[in-house]
């Protein structure tokens, strides 16, 4: 088979649409022809809206189940806004999947800590699905989710469902709340020192706003976890998604193809340098 042209989108159709939060929806996209390609947790697609443009959106569905691509999109620009307004049946162009995802292969036996901030939970969800599908292969599994307020918690019903599992520790925290909220209040990195992590066994997967990831990385390092066991999903301007347009450079890395998931051992030196 000839490798598909990586620049040419494939036609998909919106199969399902679910409103998640104010300005954020989850779309299920089904290919018009053939089956959706396989993807790995942490990878992303380029989604094209007719006549508007294209934007990189992480995959947030179950890689091992379903026949669609699942994407949670927040309205933060022209293209993402157009995506959030698509109705069931609408047409979408899809290129992908692209990039390197979470380092789950080889993580057998490890304690896994997933740290999500805001919509950063979306690219971590496929990792959690994959982990739960073979839960017995891992030690402790914790997921820490930070949100702005209780109303802004993504996938809240699913998180509540997971919270009832005895083999999964779900810690939710919000930046601000009123007295009705009985969960944690505070930033998500503040949960890390009190989680009783075993630094030698823990592998940390972190996704969220870059500042939050820096704070989380520092808290993880302070907890004794080595930089090689801390992985961040970076965001830069993705245009071509195959390392040829140059836009997503982050120091020596093309975030689109070397990342988006990069180990802190590789990026720790440039993470806090302004404008890198």
């Amino acid at each position: 088979m000839v490798a598909p042209d990586p620049f040419l989108p494939q036609p998909y159709r919106v199969e399902r649409r679910r409103r998640e939060l104010v300005g954020a929806v989850t779309l299920e996209l089904a290919p018009l022809v053939g089956a959706r390609p396989d993807f790995a947790p942490g990878q992303f697609n380029m989604l094209y809206v007719f006549g508007v443009g294209e934007v990189a959106i992480s995959l947030s569905g179950d890689a091992e189940r379903g026949t669609t691509f699942v994407h949670t999109v927040r309205n933060v620009g022209a293209v993402s806004g157009a995506l959030t307004r698509l109705e069931v049946g609408a047409s979408v162009g899809v290129r992908g999947p692209f990039g390197r995802g979470w380092p789950l292969t080889g993580a057998e036996g490890a304690d896994l800590l997933l740290v999500a901030g805001g919509l950063g939970l979306a690219p971590l969800r496929p990792a959690l699905y994959a982990i739960l599908a073979r839960r017995e292969r891992y030690g402790r599994v914790l997921i820490m989710v930070g949100s702005r307020s209780p109303e802004d918690i993504l996938y809240r019903r699913e998180l509540e469902h997971w919270r009832r599992r005895p083999d999964l520790e779900v810690l939710l925290t919000v930046d601000h709340a009123d007295a009705d909220w009985h969960g944690h209040v505070g930033v998500v990195p503040a949960l890390i020192p009190h989680a009783g992590l075993d630094p030698a066994r823990t592998l940390a997967l972190v996704c969220g706003p870059e500042v939050m990831m820096r704070f989380a990385a520092n808290a993880l390092l302070a907890a004794g976890i080595g930089p090689g066991r801390i992985h961040l999903s970076m965001e830069r301007n993705m245009k071509c998604a195959v390392g040829q347009c140059g836009h997503c450079q982050f120091g020596p890395f093309f975030v689109c193809k070397d990342g988006p998931v990069l180990g802190l051992d590789r990026i720790g030196g440039i993470l806090a340098v302004p404008e890198i």
């Binding site: 620049f7 989108p9 159709r13 965001e235 830069r236 195959v242 836009h247 440039i270 404008e275």
Partner: protein, 382 residues
């Protein structure tokens, strides 16, 4: 300087060079070479030796480029021209695909047009290396740009061992010239003195050998080879600039907060000229256009520059807001992180970025300034 290798070599006179151009055209190549246009020497389509810039040279300096008459009738007696061969192999504007709304959804179709088969006459050593560097970007194992690869594969390259070095040239420092090394079909050295005007031709490929066999020529003698070697040696001795490359990658990657970046940012206009003339800069942007009726749309790929504010835009703002951040990105990428990405420097020492910078910023001077006082700020005391 060693004598040129004893591989197949011949000598052409001007008529032989004319025959070379005609033979390439007869084989269906669109032959491109240097011509004088708009007070500059540029690469464009040629039909014969008469199109070449006989008797012209250029005077280059930071922020300055002027054509001048030579005392002789040299055809290749000039240094790097404003635009390298990049614009043929990696076009500034390229429509990638078109899409229209069908009954069931969008219908995408590739719009990449078949490019002509190019023959490039006079690919200077630095530009030959630049092509090899762009090959690594566009013909990577994990993702190939098929259109680029086709244009590249089809191209016939007549390289040029330089007989002239400009004031902004530093290929010797970069190890890229002035002798053309690498993948070419034929390589010329212009041999010009009071007694003759000839071209030593070396063969670099079977296609080159086949073409040469049909041209009026004579066999190269030892004195011809020695003359060609001395042309290259003379050019090597006339570099206008130099750049110390030892440890440069580590130096730049470890000095992101050097005060020199602030200093150069005060002069830099962020005009993007350096990236447009650079023969290795490969960055592009993608634009989506639709027609007024909304029935069809297309995606166009255009050269882009890391000096634009938009280049690093992520929702909320651009990562590199300042000229400092953008100049640092460009130069650090070119001279340092390029090694991490593609295994070589991204600079071939052609000097175009120096010549065409409207305020004369000199990459060799900037690198030397950082080398002179490394680790003034930043470093390990965070």
């Amino acid at each position: 300087m060693d004598a040129l290798p004893t591989a197949t070599a011949a000598v052409l006179d001007r008529d032989g060079l004319q025959a070379l151009i005609e033979a390439l055209a007869a084989r269906g190549f669109r032959v491109c070479g240097p011509v004088v246009r708009d007070a500059a020497i540029v690469y464009d389509e040629i039909s014969g030796v008469a199109d070449l810039p006989a008797g012209w040279t250029d005077r280059q300096a930071p922020g300055r480029y002027r054509l001048e008459r030579r005392a002789d009738q040299a055809l290749f007696g000039f240094a790097a021209v404003p635009q390298a061969w990049k614009r043929f192999l990696h076009p500034p504007v390229e429509t990638l695909w078109r899409v229209r709304q069908g009954e069931d959804g969008m219908l995408f179709s590739s719009a990449v047009e078949t490019a002509p088969r190019y023959a490039f006459l006079g690919v200077r050593a630095c530009d030959l290396r630049a092509i090899a560097i762009q090959d690594r970007v566009f013909c990577a194992d994990d993702c190939r740009d098929d259109a680029y690869e086709r244009r590249r594969r089809d191209a016939f390259i007549v390289a040029l061992n330089c007989s002239e070095a400009g004031d902004t040239c530093f290929c010797v420092s970069m190890g890229t010239g002035p002798r053309a090394e690498g993948a070419f079909d034929l390589a010329l050295t212009e041999l010009l003195d009071a007694s003759r005007h000839e071209f030593l031709v070396e063969v670099g490929s079977a296609a080159g050998e086949e073409l040469l066999a049909g041209l009026p020529r004579r066999t190269a003698t030892e004195p011809d080879r020695a003359a060609a070697a001395s042309v290259v040696a003379r050019t090597a001795g006339r570099m206008g600039r130099s750049l110390e490359t030892a440890g440069l990658q580590e130096l730049l990657e470890s000095n992101p907060e050097h005060p020199r970046w602030d200093e150069v940012a005060e002069r830099c206009l962020a005009c993007a000229n350096c990236t447009m003339v650079c023969p290795t800069c490969f960055c592009t942007t993608l634009e989506d256009h639709s027609d007024l009726s909304g029935g069809s749309a297309e995606r166009v790929r255009l050269w882009d520059s890391c000096f634009t504010l938009d280049f690093s835009y992520i929702h909320g703002g651009s990562v590199r807001q300042t000229d400092k951040g953008r100049y640092r990105q460009w130069m650090t990428h070119k001279l340092a992180t390029w090694f991490d990405q593609f295994g070589s420097s991204g600079c071939v020492g052609c000097g175009r970025c120096i010549t065409w910078c409207p305020v004369g910023i000199d990459i060799t001077e900037e690198a030397a300034a950082i080398r002179a006082t490394p680790h003034i700020q930043g470093g390990d005391h965070g």
